[in-house]
Point group: C2
Chain length 735, copies 2
């Protein structure tokens, strides 16, 4: 049910309600109205161009009754009984320069409303801060240092987002331990059906269990299931960021910014009333967050626009984060890499070295004496071959997974002492290989799979980073596969959020860039710590080898997962039919050109050329685009976009006059006319166009493509055609 | 109910039962009989001089049904269905030299029975190892590496100790987080009454809650309650070590040895049948231990003798531990110390520096600008005064508690980022004070209160130890006050056991000795890691200032807590009436001489002279004994002993011809005639005898004492009289 309330009525309402405040975005389109309802409960609404987007929604917290919270503290909740003590509206405008990203410089322009609330019954102060940008809002709670609120424990955050209708949504089931489910495209009213088709819930609050009639061959579409670690908490739970579109064509995206020392927010959907409410991730004893004043929550963000492209172009989440804390960022750089990885993912080789033992123990098992299984891919010959390929073909680094002892038992044992991060297998000569790489102008990329044994990783961290420095590594891919140790904690709880951030800060001390897989999804911290060059934290290319992903998957992720930070999606699998070189019968649900397009459409300073060298050698003409594409940008122009259907974007390479254009589409294909009005006037460019063949199709004919060159200039129009699951990739080089 | 079964009957029984094995101690007094009952359940018995001590008792494990245990593993328990595959009896005799302790060298003489069991239904192997010593037994479970048992999770260990009667016991209520309850002296049948007088249990398996009719003024005798962290798990739960005495006068002590990578064992008493069963400490998710083969449990130990002195003289638990793992032990030494501590314990000063803030945050709060509260004792002047005292009066080190920022919020907040272990308060000049100490031939002793934020401690550990090395500290007292972080874990669970051992090994790398307060009680690991110079892990002297401890407390602890390792009891409070110098109205329940006696009776390489310098200055003649007493011994001779009543012991100072004698008693007083037959023949000695005054009494006249000198020789008899709560302390110096 939708309600339309005009600005006039709202203004009247604002007058009628005791104590209502508001703030508008600089261009006046976005409006936040704050008030206290009858019981003194904080309430906000969001309007866009005079139309209600978020109906009046409550805010606040339930606190845990716990002996560790302030002794003698009045244990009423932070929900009601508030009055406005003071409020202020200010404006802010500045420009800042990111170390890497979509743009050379970013404008941070907002109007801010700060409201100081006072809860008389408990003598407590709570501040709300709303920032209204032209493309949305961010708001957070702040708790000043004060006598009667020092240590408190959040049992439940009650931040609502009361929607105006049963919107269309691109969503993923809420889970405390995984983000690798396939994206769903349904109205919100269908969330419950979709989740309960796979999972049953014994009673309210129980964790979902896979339904016995839901079998593994249905994994590809599994709304939930099946991962090394997962905790589906509700039949109507949803992860953020959540992308929605109203029937009126308004795009809305809900997420959070600056997740620091707090628990990750999911959304719980009340599908009777279409109200979303914050749902935090619990710890081992059922509490959400441990707070000490002065403190603040992350920003809750709502992006809103009638233009889908604004969802992708926005810098709202980055703007809400703290400025860069690293003084000298010269050691942080974009990285294009290949890796000893895809071969194992496909099942054509092992991470582990030996099958001789029933299990292995670090420091006890003598790998030097063990019988190699002959399928260990992280060996000297293979790595040297990848180094040669990288050196000859314009890649910066070679990732090597499986280089270190322990992989025999690496997953699903809940093993604490699983890796030491410093001891190589007998067939990986760490010194020789790094010397060899450096002699060819290439680096190796480190891999730290933690198996979610977080404390074990921290115990070894200093040694592991020192080893990296010693051998000339400057980037590490981390992993958190499996259930967390300390046992009882979840991947996205406050404890693990603090762990990921601890690791990031320690890495910065060692001048190391971090790419965190299976970690909490990013929330813009890469502005503050730009050595966080990537995360996975969603369903990446590897799932094509496991179960497959729908062709629209990569056209949804930029709207959802990419809010808050880039993704190491690991594209570039040009041999999309895995059976052509392995026993794996799956396909990558994309054409060859679709894979190329992802380097532009999915903006990331870290990009993998994921396929095997020998596969690239079958597509060297197409590979040329991967070689040439930039990873860091002065500017980005979104041409057209619709979640799950198509994205077309042009980006200008940093410090260069060259542009790259990428277009990706779903299984319906796409046509788009691109006017090259972003080129410099009076200059000539050579466009190299990588296009799907006329008869190409992701499923039946993925490897059909054409490469054509033409001279272009400002104002020219390119008529582009993308086939089902395909795309287009263009390098526009200034002559 | 008692049963007497003679050796002959047992031998018949052994023949009658299918598959029974046995092993005898070298002198034949101690006998273990093993068999499998009808269902193939491992069962053992213990006899002493032909009499049953432990009736046939079952052994084994319940395993957790958990996805992390070996996939496909037959998840039957390790309880029944066993057969004996093989067994062997061997003898062992060696002598080894401890770095410090009661003796210069220790004889390790035992007969061992190893039984290889096989559980056909699950194709699993389990080995039992029994060692029979002249003063008791140790036994453990071992799991060889094998195909069908790799990773398993223990849900319950089911090791029984079926007693032959309702023995008298010196016991403490079982608890996952504290060992600081007062010792109880009752028959086992009274355990339930004693515990349920203080605590109520909602339902089976629930944690005890303090009964509302049990008020704080009864804290002195509280069987359980009231500590910063506690988890009373059962109305009939008991900690180890447990000291017992049968009506026939047999002394039995149950404990464990070599607690490594396993959960600490308590005992659950079935008070209908007088059967004790192992009760492990659970983790955050309710599991006990995570195991990976090859692995083993700690030793379960049963000491037995008809002579109480053997309980104190025994080296059984040390003998069961692994030999020393530290190559160069020259940096490990006995330490006599005073400290800036007792004054705060009594309430006459603070650990914390300022009262200006509602709370403090490390790295944010500027302590340099804070208003000092004027009661912060860890300040330059006070510390220098203690250094002067130590230097003039034969002490090696000065402990300083409260030297580092964070004490304002140190306890009961469940605060993760509570200390950094490196930043001093503004009035503690760490460089100046260490230089000053060293110039006087004294060291400072480091203090690391972790507030149970274990992961925080590990994050800072390397920096904290490097700081110690830099400033010349070589010993640290650690503390674990409050509930553990990671939240949900307990002080004595496998996770924390691994933490304490990690800390110990890291300390050894830095040549640092560790004295662990509130950590798990020791189990003989000081043989393997002799830098573990002490633990508290029981109710120490400080409780005299909080609630008081009964006079028999220090006459029980050597039988119970001291099994497995020394205790930092911190004796030497000569001004036993705290009201004489503070607002604290409590007394130390001991005479002055009783305090001196503890230095000999409670054997520890680390001994504190706990009182304030200004209090010692009132008792400098008595203090002389503290100054002179040795801390490390070539030999120890127990003269007489009875748990909770009296202990009299003579010890020969290491590398010297001098002896020290100490006697301590309970509120009944004690008389003992000591024949000096341990002195060298033909040699003269001067004995300085510190004795209670005739009219002395711990309560009414504690400070009455005499100091007399006399010449003695081998064979002389000293007639010693100890008053209620008193003792005797004698230095016997070779002339």
């Amino acid at each position: 049910m939708k309600r339309k309330i005009t600005t006039i009525v709202m203004a009247l309402l604002a007058v009628a309600v005791v104590s209502a405040q508001q703030v508008l975005s600089p261009n006046g389109n976005v409006q936040v109205i704050f008030s206290l309802d009858n019981g003194g409960q904080p309430t906000y609404s969001l309007l866009y161009k005079g139309e209600m987007v978020i109906n009046p929604s409550h805010m606040g917290f339930e606190l845990a009754r716990d002996k560790h919270a302030n002794k003698g503290m009045n244990e009423t909740d932070l929900l009601t009984g508030f009055e406005v003590k003071d409020y202020k509206v200010t404006s802010h405008e500045d420009t800042w320069t990111p170390v890497w990203g979509q743009y050379k410089s970013i404008s941070n322009n907002y109007n801010e409303l700060i409201i100081d609330l006072y809860q008389a019954s408990a003598n407590r102060n709570m501040t709300l801060r709303f920032r209204a940008y032209n493309d949305g809002i961010g708001f957070r709670y702040e708790f000043p240092q004060q006598r009667d609120l020092n240590y408190f424990i959040i049992k439940r955050e009650r931040t609502q987002f009361a929607l105006t209708g049963d919107h269309r949504a691109w969503w993923q089931a809420g889970d405390y331990d995984t983000q690798e489910y396939p994206m769903q495209v349904t109205r919100l009213s269908q969330v419950r059906n979709r989740i309960t088709a796979c999972a049953s819930f014994d009673k309210p609050g129980a964790v979902g269990k896979r339904r016995t009639d839901y079998t593994e061959d249905r994994m590809r579409d599994a709304v939930v299931w099946d991962n090394a670690s997962q905790t589906v908490f509700s039949p109507t739970g949803i992860q953020t960021s959540l992308q929605m579109k109203t029937d009126e064509g308004l795009y809305i995206n809900i997420h959070e910014a600056e997740l620091v020392n707090y628990s990750c927010m999911h959304l719980e959907l009340d599908d009777k009333n279409m109200i979303l409410e914050s749902h935090l991730t619990p710890d081992a004893v059922g509490n959400m967050c441990y707070m000490q004043t002065p403190c603040r929550t992350p920003w809750r963000t709502v992006m809103v626009s009638d233009d889908a492209r604004d969802m992708l172009a926005s810098s709202l989440i980055l703007n809400l984060n703290e400025p860069c804390k690293i003084e000298d960022t010269s050691w942080i750089h974009p990285t294009k890499y290949c890796g000893v990885w895809w071969e194992m993912i496909v099942g054509h080789g092992n991470w582990h070295y030996t099958d001789e033992f029933p299990s292995v123990k670090l420091g006890m098992t003598d790998f030097n004496k063990a019988k190699p299984n002959g399928r260990h891919r992280a060996n000297n010959d293979t790595v040297m071959r990848y180094i040669d390929f990288a050196a000859r073909n314009g890649l910066d680094q070679v990732l090597v997974e499986g280089w270190n002892v322990g992989w025999e038992d690496w997953a699903n044992m809940w093993k604490e002492d699983v890796f030491d991060f410093v001891t190589p297998y007998p067939d990986f000569d760490i010194k020789m290989l790094n010397d060899y790489a450096h002699s060819k102008g290439v680096k190796l990329m480190m891999h730290h799979e933690t198996s979610s044994s977080a404390d074990n990783y921290e115990r070894h961290l200093n040694e592991a980073y020192s080893l990296m420095n010693r051998y000339g590594y400057d980037a590490v891919k981390t992993g958190y596969v499996g259930d967390i140790i300390p046992r009882g904690e979840h991947h996205y709880g406050q404890y693990m959020v603090n762990h990921y951030n601890w690791v990031l800060r320690e890495a910065a001390k060692h001048h190391i860039m971090v790419n965190g897989h299976e970690a909490v999804r990013p929330t813009g911290l890469c502005r503050t710590w730009p050595n966080l060059v990537g995360n996975e934290s969603a369903r990446g290319t590897e799932y094509e080898a496991f179960y497959g992903s729908n062709p629209n998957h990569t056209v949804i992720l930029p709207f959802t997962r990419f809010q808050g930070g880039p993704m190491d999606y690991t594209p570039g699998v040009l041999e999309t039919r895995l059976a052509n070189w392995s026993d794996n019968q799956h396909i990558v649900h994309s054409t060859v050109v679709g894979q190329l397009a992802l380097y532009v459409v999915m903006c990331s300073p870290l990009q993998m050329a994921a396929d095997l060298p020998q596969n690239y050698e079958k597509f060297m003409d197409a590979y040329q685009f991967i070689r040439d594409v930039a990873l860091d940008w002065d500017d980005s122009r979104y041409i057209d976009a619709e979640p799950g259907e198509y994205i077309t974007v042009a980006r200008k390479a940093k410090g260069s006059d060259n542009w790259f254009l990428g277009g990706k589409c779903d299984e319906k294909g796409h046509r788009v006319d691109v006017r090259l009005d972003f080129l410099d006037k009076g200059r000539k460019y050579e466009a190299t166009i990588y296009a799907d063949g006329k008869d190409a199709n992701y499923e039946t004919n993925p490897a059909s493509y054409t490469i054509t060159k033409k001279i272009v200039k400002q104002g020219d129009v390119l008529k582009l055609v993308e086939v089902p699951g395909g795309g287009v990739a263009i390098m526009i080089k200034a002559i």
